[in-house]
Amino acid sequence: MKRDLKIPTPLILLLPLIILFSTVLIYPWALGFWYSLLKYKPMYGIPPKFVGLSNYIAIIKDPVFYHALRVTGYFMLLAVTFEMVLGLFLAEILDGIAYERLRKLTTIIILIPMMTATVYAALTWRLILYPLFGIANYLLTLLGLPPQDWLGDPKWSIPVVAVVDIWQNTPFVILILFAGLQSLPTEWIEAAMIDGASSWQIFRYIKLPFLKPLILIALFFRIVITLRIFESVIIMFSETGGPGMAAQVLGIYLYWLAFKIWDLGRAAALSWIMLLLTAGLSFVLLLKFYKEVRI
């Protein structure tokens, strides 16, 4: 390739992306920042007024915001822990299936929940967990356990939302770690087996270190993505955020600010806070993982 051609061509190739990003992402976010500095409640017919950072201050002083943060954090902890542990475990089991046909069929089944919509996942789990005739409670009574008010009891609200997330997103962890295990050189395992290593030792000292970068990548994606939890809560508990606001995650708080009390200025401020939270979290995690992962 000629050298003088190199400079403009990538720019031309990137132009559609640049146009799309700047009109539909960057400009709206900049506009959102401007609105976050305004007192803007269009439903009340009050003209927008510049108020500086007071929307941000109002949010930081709002106990509901901290409640939403706590609820989101609890959900994140619960969902991500289960997804990572189950994902690692199931990837190892899947890798151990000797029959290729069976392994392929299993992979397809594992993939399915991940491709379905979160709205669908929440609908179907609502059907299963419905207190009066839901099959979950029926199964509990078969085991001699007391039925639970899954959707009405605040203590279950976040675990129930986490189950939907675990059902849908553990496959992501399984498939990534499974792909990693498949690329592990078989000679390593064979050599270890000749040396008399047990399958636990092989897992602990060969597979786990080999998978570490992938585990961190999966963990990174799961943490950052669980922050945006929204649709399953809406479907399971409607906009109210569940019994006693027990499932009032950040997304629901945002919806409530924007479309229940119609304070669009403050909602825009919360959007920016959520963006900064995501960016901060990503930055910290990447910094922590940087040595292990080449992203």
């Binding site: 390739m1 990538p10 190739l13 709206p28 029926y138 990534i176």
Partner: protein, 280 residues
């Protein structure tokens, strides 16, 4: 000891498969149950004969969920928004991925990182800026708005996946073609795109499903005209009397594309998923 450990592993796998499939199967079966069987205790697996009333009801006029609108408005809206966002995303991403994978320009790493960072944008939070933006343009509740947003939000993942596919293709083929005088356009359309076609297909499916499965964006940006299928879902559950039969029919109807794609393209999807997340 060895044998029992092996059987425990298989048991866990079988349990996971059951856990994965059960909700889908259960909803499918519920969609063919009579109202009496839906509420039966102990639960019945299937109504005999299967009852198709829920499915007829789902699309029938005069219901609370406005059956005909599902067919004449929400379904076409979902199809159009998803398909056209693929039509914008794929060409945009192919060009961008080609630039990043094949050219060593200044700021290349920076561009790649910015694209990855965009992937992390939380859609829920993005809805408010977008709401304000499209309200200003008078484009709220239009398909144009949805298509643009879905495209912008899928381009990062799509570009990332396509870079991974491109990096697997040896450059020598293109270089040989260019020495023979092939233009950039020819190289791209006649050599590169055919080679990575399976990768493009997988990327297109992911892009399609990102739009098809989206709830948050459409929930905030549409009201009625551009309303998509998932945004209609709350109608089935927020009322006091939940019509489980019709809801199950709706849910099952809604995930048909996702099921078909997972079953028939699983090989490419899994490869794309792991490549896109793992490489680089």
């Amino acid at each position: 000891m060895r044998a029992s450990l092996g059987s425990i592993k298989y048991l866990i796998l079988v349990l996971w498969i059951g856990f994965s499939l059960f909700p889908i199967v259960w909803m499918f079966l519920t969609s063919f149950k009579t109202p009496l069987d839906v509420f039966a205790n102990p639960p019945v697996l299937i109504s005999i004969p299967p009852c198709t009333k829920n499915w007829i009801n789902l699309f029938a006029p005069g219901t609370r969920w406005e059956g005909p609108r599902i067919l004449y408005r929400y379904l076409p809206n979902s199809v159009i928004a998803s398909t056209l966002s693929v039509a914008i995303t794929i060409p945009t991403s192919i060009l961008a991925a080609y630039a990043i994978s094949r050219f060593r320009f200044r700021g290349r790493r920076m561009v790649a990182i910015i694209i990855l960072a965009t992937r992390m944008l939380p859609p829920v939070a993005t809805t408010i800026p977008l709401y304000l933006f499209f309200a200003g343009l008078g484009l709220l509740d239009t398909l144009i708005a949805l298509i643009l947003v879905y495209s912008a939000l899928s381009v990062p993942l799509a570009t990332w996946m396509l870079i991974a596919y491109l990096d697997e293709v040896p450059r020598e083929i293109e270089e040989a073609a260019q020495i023979d005088g092939a233009s950039l356009k020819d190289t791209l359309f006649k050599i590169v795109i055919p080679i990575i076609a399976p990768g493009i297909a997988a990327t297109a499916i992911f892009t399609f499903l990102l739009a098809w499965n989206d709830f948050a964006i459409a929930f905030f940006l549409t009201k009625e005209n551009a309303k998509t299928l998932p945004v209609h879902a709350p109608v089935f559950v927020t009322e006091v009397a939940i019509e489980w039969g019709a809801m199950s029919a709706f849910g099952t109807f809604y995930i048909i594309p996702a099921l078909l794609f997972s079953v028939f393209f699983s090989k490419y999807l899994i490869k794309g998923l792991t490549l896109g997340a793992v490489k680089r």
